[in-house]
């Protein structure tokens, strides 16, 4: 009768009935262990020490180390990319591990049970960057290493459709070069950030970790405003939905570079720009929205006349003023088709500093920019544009500044200098490129 190996490890299922010897000396390890397991993986957390024991025994290769905390990626055993052909029977690979970090624990060297969550996060980021680089997947995407974590700064989220539309617009205006240039800039921005994160020197790491800690979850502010919206359904006096959340959260994609790190410090709309979307607007809209009030009675009333009066005063903006944001049908559609700027601009200004600008609906260079709700942070102009497309704020007189800030230019006071970068939003930038025929 030999010594029971399982007992020595702390979990002999037979206990007293076991035919092998259970030396009392080795009893110290009891622990919570249920039946001994032959395959490497435990189901469920709490395996602790014993899990690690097997970590290097059986390590299915599908257990990729891009561990993913939070909602478990059960894909490995099931759907997975491993074509289990007609599946079904693959449950023997069940790795239903609920312990979100078990994947990390077992896929690394055995002795790392004590690794910090931070370290894990950081490793996760590095691995994800490697995968991102080699996979050929869409690069203009936001990224976050783990469920509850906010997006890592420096990555702009642009959907393929947005880019495509930009291309089509550029094509119809014969300025594809602009588009290509802008895309290249964005791609370079991505690449730089990716390389930076992969290399992960001390300062990058520090800022990354602090971002994860401080902002907690970006949606948080918005969360509180959960029920934002309108008064009862059917009435059209819609006060606004908390637009402040939209301006504080990651503003426009193209200038996201650094915006989240910086914007957490200087929330969204910089005071300099003045009109932070929501706040400033309500009074202004007080009057314009009144025509819509009668509509509370029912639908189909007062449509045309009030609509027409809106034109672009809207500056619609984040204020979710349904009535105001919307330029009525007839007249507006003509105007809208005239301005082809549709998308947030590209990061030709791919500089790191973001000072957010509130949407400015002032007509630039005679073009009517379609007012958009995008609060965009534009980078320091000096960094990239060699030509004077913008005037630094310091060079503008108070009156000129006021003109730029206003919704419309006052005739006779239209500034001759180009507008300041701070007041331009993405749409304006795109139209600027076009008008300057880069």
């Amino acid at each position: 009768m030999g010594v029971c190996q399982f007992f020595l490890r702390g979990y002999c299922r037979f206990g007293e009935r076991c035919w092998n010897e259970h030396p009392r000396g080795g009893a110290g390890r009891a622990g919570a262990a249920p039946a001994h397991v032959t395959s490497g993986r435990g189901g469920g957390g709490g395996w602790g020490a014993s899990n690690q024991r097997y970590s290097n025994v059986i390590q299915p290769s599908s257990f990729k180390s891009d561990a993913w905390g939070g909602s478990r990626d059960h894909g490995r055993g099931f759907f997975g990319s491993s074509d289990f052909g007609s599946s079904g029977g693959s449950s023997r690979n069940a790795d239903f591990s609920q312990n979100r970090f078990s994947a990390l624990a077992s896929s690394q060297s055995a002795a790392d049970g004590s690794k910090d969550e931070e370290e894990r996060l950081v490793e996760c980021v590095v691995k994800d960057m490697e995968i991102w680089e080699s996979s050929g997947q869409w690069i203009f995407s936001c990224y976050s290493p783990m469920k509850e974590k906010p997006n890592v700064s420096g990555f702009s989220d642009v959907s393929p459709e947005e880019l495509r539309l930009e291309y089509y617009d550029s094509r119809s205006n014969n300025i594809i070069g602009n588009y290509i240039h802008a895309v290249q800039e964005l791609a370079l921005q991505w690449k730089n950030r990716l390389v930076q994160l992969k290399a992960l020197n001390a300062s990058t790491k520090a800022s990354l970790l602090s971002a994860f800690k401080t902002t907690g979850t970006q949606p948080a502010p918005a969360f509180g405003m959960g029920g934002q919206q309108t008064s009862s359904f059917g009435l059209s006096s819609f006060p606004v939905s908390s637009s402040s959340s939209s301006s504080t959260s990651a503003s426009s994609f193209s200038f996201k570079a650094s915006s989240s790190l910086i914007s957490s410090a200087s929330p969204g709309s910089s005071p300099a720009a003045g009109s932070s979307s929501a706040a400033a607007n309500p009074p202004a809209f007080g009057t314009t929205s009144s025509p819509s009030a009668p509509q509370s009675a029912g639908f189909g009333s007062a449509a045309a006349p009030s609509a027409a009066s809106f034109s672009f005063k809207a500056a619609a903006t984040a204020g979710g003023f349904g009535t105001c944001g919307f330029s009525g049908f007839g007249s507006a559609s003509a105007v809208n088709s005239a301005s082809t700027t549709v998308l947030p601009a590209f990061g030709a200004f791919s500089a790191p500093v973001g000072s957010s600008a509130s949407p400015s609906s002032s007509a630039l260079f005679g073009q009517s920019a379609s007012a958009s709700g995008h609060a965009v942070t534009s980078a320091s102009a000096a960094a990239t544009s060699s030509e004077k497309l913008f005037t630094p704020k310091s060079e503008l007189s108070a009156e000129e500044w006021q003109q730029f800030e206003a919704k419309e230019f006052t005739i006779g006071k239209i500034p001759l200098k180009p507008p300041p970068l701070e007041l331009l939003n993405a749409f304006d930038l795109v139209s600027l490129f076009r008008s300057n025929m880069f």
Binding site: R72, F79, S81, D83, G136, D157, T230, S236, F238, S241
Partner: protein, 371 residues
């Protein structure tokens, strides 16, 4: 490096081409030998939608980047007859049917949405946004009906089609990327991994903001129902070849919610880096509850989310599959083969033909295990 040949050889079919059965051309534009819809759009197809059960027969609408929305009648023998077409002044990004099948709503980059009355073949504008309208859905509630539009202007608006002003405007945290509605639930996914669920009873209101279960950009979302036909969760796809199944109120979230990888090349077990493709569309089979995903890799796959297994993966087409949908009874699965811009403008070939394929879906999507 070119991951797949997107510039397949043209098959030489004119716009009047019909079924591809027995084709002798060597190209790979229809490896699954599915039925080809006649007169497909001239540019990439952004959305597909089949008529509701209230309409006898099957009618398919497709919106495209050629600014048009086309409607075909799909007969039981597989023959497709082009019926009508409407235009926008910008690419069409989404389209849907009204519950009675008499109207089609279309959303476009021209920042408007239109209502197309199929009987009169007239279309009128019913919505206006400050930026392209990305999603459009018809909501039919016991006490109201309206059209919901989601736009890149970060708002979600609800429209009574008779009024130019929205009934309601809800603010989104970011640009709307995709949405789905199954009364009384609506799920909207935005840029920067935003994810919000709305409840639509009485009037639409935000129900919950959800932490995204995915790491990258959201691309498509589809709501699924439980055994008693109530919406209970959604599937969310990202650009990173991954789909998350998320239940709204699961008994055990850690266990019930999960993600799975899909639309990737060389299946796992190798140490070589995979090619990862975006999930362009997700659709649930109306009867079986199983789901289909289509990706930039030019494949479609069928999955059973309850058994957590893959049912089938198609051969690879020579172009990405940009959209998909099931008809009302789940007999037909339609998918569109056209460039989705996943590789940028260099891989865009305006001359390349776009296709919409129809496949019999009655058998292949049966759930794996009887529960």
């Amino acid at each position: 490096m070119v991951r797949m040949s997107l510039f397949g050889t043209t098959s030489g079919f004119g716009t009047g081409g019909t079924s591809m059965f027995g084709s002798t051309t060597a190209d790979n534009h229809n490896p699954m030998k599915d039925i080809e819809v006649t007169s497909p759009p001239d540019d990439s197809i952004s959305c597909l939608a089949f008529s509701p059960p209230t309409l006898p027969g099957n009618f398919l609408i497709a919106g495209s980047w050629a600014n048009d929305v086309r409607c075909w009648e799909v007969q039981d023998n597989g023959q497709t007859i082009p019926k009508a077409q409407q235009m926008h002044t910008g690419p069409v990004l989404d389209a849907c049917w009204s519950d009675d099948g008499s109207k089609v709503f279309t959303a476009s980059c021209d920042k408007t949405a239109k209502m197309w009355d199929l009987n009169s073949n007239q279309a009128i504008q019913i919505a206006q946004h400050d930026a392209p309208v990305k999603t459009i859905h018809w909501i039919k509630a016991p006490n109201y009906s309206c059209v919901m539009t989601g736009s890149w202007d970060k708002t979600l608006k609800f429209w009574d089609t008779r009024s130019p002003t929205p009934m309601m405007t809800l603010q989104l945290p970011e640009r709307c990327y995709c949405a789905d509605v199954v009364h009384p639930m609506a799920a909207v996914a935005t840029a920067e991994r935003g994810l919000i669920v709305y409840q639509l009873e009485n009037q639409p209101s935000e129900f919950r903001r959800i932490e995204s279960p995915l790491k990258h950009q959201h691309r498509c979302v589809a709501i699924f129902k439980d055994k008693v036909n109530k919406p209970t969760g959604f599937a969310l796809g990202s650009i990173e070849g991954r789909v998350a199944i998320h239940y709204i109120n699961p008994p055990n979230p850690a266990k019930d919610n999960f993600t799975f990888k899909c639309h990737r090349s060389n299946g796992t077990n190798t140490s070589a880096p995979q090619d990862i493709y975006a999930v362009n569309g997700i659709a649930f089979h109306p009867v079986h509850g199983t789901l289909a995903t289509v990706g930039s890799d030019g494949r479609f796959s069928f999955w059973d989310k309850d058994a957590r297994t893959k049912l089938k993966t198609s051969e690879q087409l020579d172009q990405p599959i940009s959209a998909c949908c099931f008809n009302h009874n789940g007999n037909i699965f339609a998918y569109a083969s056209s460039y989705d811009w996943s590789k940028g403008h260099e891989f865009y070939n305006p001359q390349k033909k776009n296709y919409i394929f129809l496949r019999n879906a009655a058998e292949e999507l049966k759930p794996r295990n009887k529960k």
